[in-house]
Symmetry: C2
Subunit: 186 residues, 2 copies
């Protein structure tokens, strides 16, 4: 359901087409914590229209292909605000890397270290990405409020990457000090 409400949320900024929604807003914000591809977004817009939470109108342009402009309805706003205020259980953080690490006794020490190092590099890159993300200038009070909350989620991403980096460095330190029992099953 999160994508459903994320799209409703983005449509509170302004009415827009699926394309604009995805490329100008979704991919720069929500996608960082709730990714979805193009086909999912278009399908969700269709279902949102069927349920009366958004309304779509085809708009012709002389400079671009005709598109379907979606606007959130009153019913949509009501549903969105109700969902936003809901207490939800903490989302499960699935991570296949942790599955690999949990069974890493079946690998050689060097294989484990290589895998940790590769992971570390990825998180360093992600940290740099989030550290250099540009925050747009606020041009209205509403936007100023939005940027506060966007900033909180960005702060989360930065803290998470720093945590990951510190943890992986600790893993590398611990595994480096271990005797290599070889790869008993490789």
């Amino acid at each position: 359901m999160s994508l459903h409400f994320a799209i409703l949320g983005l449509l509170t900024f302004e009415p827009m087409s699926g394309y604009t929604l995805k490329t100008r807003y979704f991919d720069r914000s929500v996608a960082h914590f709730w990714p979805a591809d193009q086909s999912q977004i278009y399908r969700t817009l269709q279902s949102l229209e069927r349920s009366g939470e958004v309304e779509g109108h085809i708009v012709a342009s002389d400079t671009r292909p005709k598109s379907r402009l979606y606007a959130i309805t009153e019913a949509g706003r009501t549903a969105l605000v109700a969902w936003l205020a809901q207490d939800r259980p903490v989302a499960v953080q699935r991570d296949d890397f942790l599955v690999q690490l949990y069974f890493a006794r079946l690998l050689s020490r060097d294989q484990v270290l290589a895998m940790l190092q590769a992971r570390l590099d990825q998180h360093v890159r992600q940290r740099d990405y989030f550290d250099t993300l540009e925050i747009p200038e606020a041009t209205s009070d509403e936007m100023r409020r939005q940027i506060v909350f966007g900033g909180l989620t960005l702060d989360f991403a930065r803290r998470r990457e720093r945590m990951m980096i510190a943890w992986i460095e600790a893993c590398i330190a611990e595994i480096s000090g271990l005797p290599d029992a070889g790869s008993p099953f490789a």
Copy 2:
């Protein structure tokens, strides 16, 4: 695929039934970073048997209902070790709470603070849970090696909870200092 290999991994400890695998091992380890319910585990065991990665034999007991004991095969071990050594892209961490927070300008300040406080409580409970998790005594070298890697994943869980707590506290501090613009749409 992670569940597939997580189950193979658990079967490197010893041959066991789906029931034992889930209750004695899976729920206490892998479930923390790759949860799955009973029906998923049984279905995966069946598919693992069809692909020749495990072998199951029905075992009768006088004290308990008859069960199907699964053992990992050589092919299974080979497939597992190959998967473990694979470099994978960092898994996306989907979090519906971040979606809620991103659009929280649509809520009143008190609603946001209540939602942050509820979240904080949950993470404090999770931190306490991970901080008090008992680690079993090693009774073999193999087990000692396993406990090292289990310990790394546990360390991750603890660091993550501490990061979450620090971040939510920072959010509460920032939102508390904000004027309440009311709930424009509620």
